[in-house]
């Protein structure tokens, strides 16, 4: 069964059109020719996977679109989704030298989407599995970190099996990325493409610790990669938190993206989204996209303190969302169904600490509340692994190798970082694969060659 058949057709997400549609050839070539083809380009340094951006853009300019895709996928096998979901405004494009002359940076993300789209469409494969080593690696979770790790492990010739709790792969790319950036079918199409290297088995519906134990994995596999991401949405510890109409952000996005015939409940005109991060902004923008009249971002600090990206929030405001600042949820009001979010005002005291203002309660009437206040950590699944350390539920690894305190275990992605970008997970999976390969060959993972950085052939 192909990956894309794992999705229902009637998905609410299909109502969203892409924020940045695929470039035409003309648009791509014109933009590619604008690129200066910088030497030791800063954009490469601000890409977590160190894609050789000037090289792939030059290849688009010379009419070598296939070669452009190869240059991207060599460094980042999930380059197709990253071209669409990466916050390029704060990564590669933020250091484009055009910024120094107050000119528009090169549209790197869109060019990357253009270059890779054709490779997926035509299923052009650039990489072959290595000579079989006979060694086996188990990967827990089928998200970007594990997929990146597994693909590279296959290039090294190791056998890979991914254990996935859900019935579909792709992790957040499939279930959690706002649909105006990437839709679930695009994510599954990419997974299918990545798996074309062969030998990346995925065991669906298999929870580690329940359906298969860590002891079993340790017995059967030579190394284990943990890429489980994050767990369920955090709940709000206030009265009324269990009323109908109180949702978790990740739960909401997932249902919007992959559930058959999912619709917003009738009569939802006013929605409060609690939080100040990118997931909160994603939900806000999607609610506006679904024509909800009044969408409010409720945040306990001020607008400038939000951890979400400025460019995303500016977009949300343009789309008609509004912010309610210095508001700390205190209670959810309603009779079975949400009727209002009761908040208290906050302020920053002289010591710079946030404090609640006594007697400042106010109600925000609403039909739905979406909580985007973080997700649970899944590290405790591995708390019994000897030597493996956890830090507030996140798996602790050596930054250079992605190896945990237990030499057989490696980890990457959100279960390590607590929540970063897809491109970070891809890089960590890639580094882990290199380290695992070194370990399996009896070498020190810390000495593994960094093959990610383009070779500096000019030696300036």
């Amino acid at each position: 069964m192909s990956e894309t058949t794992k999705l229902p057709k009637a998905r609410l997400e299909t109502r969203f059109s892409p924020k940045e549609p695929l470039m035409t050839k003309h648009d791509a070539v014109v933009e590619a020719n604008r690129c200066l083809y910088c030497v030791d380009a800063p954009c490469i340094d601000s890409c977590p996977t160190s894609i050789d951006i000037p090289e792939f853009i030059r290849r688009i300019a010379t009419g070598n679109r296939e070669g452009a895709a190869k240059a991207i996928l060599e460094a980042n096998i999930l380059g197709y989704s990253c071209g669409q979901v990466c916050p390029t405004e704060v990564l590669c494009e933020s250091t484009c030298v055009f910024q120094e002359m107050e000119e528009e940076p090169i549209r790197i993300g869109e060019l990357q989407h253009y270059a890779t789209d054709n490779a997926l469409e035509e299923n052009i494969q650039f990489f072959e599995a290595g000579e079989p080593t006979g060694q086996k690696v188990a990967l827990v979770g089928a998200g970007p970190a594990s997929l990146s790790c597994a693909h590279r492990l296959r290039r090294f010739g190791h056998e890979t099996t991914i254990f996935e709790a859900k019935e579909r792969p792709g992790g957040l790319n499939t279930d959690g990325v706002a649909p105006y950036k990437l839709q679930a079918d695009q994510s599954l199409r990419e997974v299918e493409y990545v798996r074309q290297i062969g030998g990346i088995d995925i065991e669906y519906g298999t929870k580690v610790g329940e359906d298969v134990t860590l002891e079993e994995l340790e017995d059967e596999y030579d190394a284990i990669f943990i890429g489980v991401g994050l767990g369920a949405d955090n709940r709000l510890g206030v009265d009324g938190a269990d009323l109908d109409g109180v949702w978790g952000a990740v739960e909401f996005i997932e249902r919007l993206k992959v559930e058959d015939n999912f619709e917003l409940p009738d009569g939802v005109d006013r929605v409060c989204v609690v939080g100040g991060g990118n997931t909160a902004i994603d939900v806000v923008r999607q609610m506006r996209g679904l024509d909800v009249d009044d969408v409010m971002m409720v945040y306990r600090r001020d607008e400038a303190s939000m951890s979400g990206y400025d460019h995303e929030w500016e977009g949300a405001k343009k789309e008609g969302a509004r912010g309610v600042w210095h508001a700390q949820p205190a209670e959810i009001i309603g009779d079975g169904q949400v009727e209002a979010l009761r908040c208290r005002r906050t302020r920053t005291n002289d010591n710079g600490e946030l404090e609640v203002v006594d007697g400042s309660e106010f109600d925000i009437p609403c039909d739905m509340i979406v909580l985007a206040i973080g997700q649970s950590k899944l590290g405790e699944l591995f708390e019994d692994v000897e030597g493996l350390e956890l830090d507030w539920g996140c798996v602790v690894v050596d930054e250079k190798t992605q190896q945990t305190g237990n030499a057989k275990y490696f980890a990457g992605g959100d279960c390590v970082s607590g929540g970063k970008e897809v491109v970070d997970a891809v890089e960590e999976g890639k580094v882990a694969a290199r380290s695992i390969d070194a370990m399996l060959q009896g070498r020190d993972p810390a000495e593994a060659e960094d093959d990610a950085r383009p070779v500096a052939v000019s030696g300036y």
């Binding site: 035409t24 090289e55 290849r59």
Partner: protein, 430 residues
């Protein structure tokens, strides 16, 4: 996997991409970095008797925001001691035995030629290139293009070189001649193993209007330079084609002039070049451009089913013919895609002022239409249109048999009653 390696007149190279004799091949350190980057060969910066170069050497033609679409220089041959060059050539060959090192030479007397050829071969040169092309400075001293422009001298010096050399000799030609086959045949008669072309075109790159001085300035003066870069490629392609078509020139050709991408290189190869040489694009972007040249060429070969470079050499040559042998009854006309048209009407001005007055606009609309009975299929509107695929040239079945100018005039001479070929319009009314 396509094989990019070539055997050019006996000079073996891992790929057909060579650096031309110029600043990028000025030293061993540079050439070794170039080989590391992927270049298959390098033609060393021309060696000769000691010279001194001027300060301010290059000029550029920019077009809109595109830099250096044309480029010229008034730099001469190497200004480094010969001993240093030979020592470095030897070092490069020791480290890179598989790569091609060709030494470019330019001296005056027979004795000088004998000596410098011997020293080049002793240093390990895989081949020699005789610089009969440089159109500035050296030609004033009777060398460079002064030789390329005098067939007898060109043949004579080539003969000397062949006498003294036991490695392949390439003669580099100047485009500053009326007919490139004349020096091409002269070098062939002299026994050359191969030709390379074009050297630079004699040029004045521009005038600084504020100061009233020619660029590039040396103090308050300038001199004519050699023109190169993207802008000269059509001239170079033409001359490559002319020599490749010439039955009296039956030796390999190394194509030079405005090569920047794999596509440019393949165009030269399609017109008969066995290798290509690059300078300006490397001066602009660095040695790294060769990565895409190799990758793009390999992809093209896989897509088209070519396994070796040789299979592509001269592939487009049969498509060339004299103008008199082109079919005058072949008819194409322009079609405007009304849905794509943005209404700029660039095509209207181009057609009315620069072509055949057959694109018109109805009162009250922006989208022009073609008077198909009048359209003579010149392509101009297609080229001025800013929207990709908006104006296409399509073939018309006019029911006429093929008729060339040569056939027509021959039939008239025989006294036959032949219909005038071509399309009758308001201007031509045949």
């Amino acid at each position: 996997m396509p094989d990019l390696s070539v055997d050019f007149a006996g000079i073996k190279s891992p790929n057909p991409f060579w650096l031309a004799s110029a600043p990028p091949t000025n030293s061993g350190e540079q050439v070794m970095r170039a080989f590391d980057a992927g270049w298959g060969g390098a033609v060393w910066k021309t060696l000769g008797q000691p010279i001194v170069n001027v300060s301010s050497r290059f000029g550029s033609v920019d077009y809109g925001d595109r830099r250096m679409i044309g480029f010229n220089n008034i730099e001469l041959i190497t200004d480094r001691p010969l001993e240093d060059n030979f020592r470095e050539i030897e070092e490069v060959k020791r480290h890179y035995p598989e790569h091609a090192v060709i030494v470019s030479l330019m001296v005056e007397t027979k004795e000088e030629w004998k000596d410098i050829i011997q020293r080049s071969i002793d240093a390990g040169a895989d081949g020699l290139e005789l610089n009969f092309g440089c159109p500035h400075g050296m030609c004033e001293r009777g060398m460079g293009s002064a030789v390329g422009q005098e067939p007898k001298v060109c043949e004579e010096i080539t003969r000397w070189a062949m006498e003294y050399s036991d490695v392949p000799v390439i003669v580099k030609l100047t485009p500053n001649v009326t007919d490139i086959t004349v020096p091409g045949r002269a070098a062939t008669r002299g026994g050359a193993d191969a030709l390379s072309l074009i050297n630079t075109v004699k040029s004045i790159i521009g005038v600084n209007l504020d100061e009233g001085v020619i660029e590039p300035k040396v103090k308050n003066k300038s001199s004519n330079g050699g023109y190169c870069g993207q802008a000269v490629r059509p001239i170079a392609l033409h001359m490559t084609n002319q020599l490749a078509q010439d039955r009296q020139v039956d030796i390999p050709i190394s194509g030079i002039g405005g090569v920047e991408t794999w596509r440019d290189a393949l165009e030269f190869i399609h017109l008969g070049a066995g290798t290509v040489q690059v300078c300006t694009a490397v001066m602009h972007h660095g040695y790294r451009i060769v990565r895409d040249m190799i990758d793009g060429t390999e992809r093209f070969m896989r897509e088209k089913g070519f396994e070796t470079i040789d299979e592509m050499v001269g592939r487009a040559l049969p498509s060339y013919d004299d103008w008199g042998n082109l079919d005058l009854n072949h008819e194409i006309i322009a079609k405007i895609d009304e849905d794509l048209c943005i209404g700029c009407q660039k095509c209207v001005a181009a057609c009315h002022d620069g072509a055949h007055q057959c694109i018109h606009v109805e009162e009250g609309t922006r989208v022009p239409y073609i008077d198909e009975a009048e359209c003579i299929g010149c392509n101009l509107c297609m080229y001025v249109c800013p929207v990709p695929d908006c104006i296409k040239m399509v073939e018309v079945d006019n029911g006429k048999d093929s008729m060339t100018w040569n056939e027509y005039t021959a039939a008239k001479e025989r006294g036959e009653d032949v219909e005038h070929p071509g399309k009758s319009t308001h201007q031509t009314h045949f």
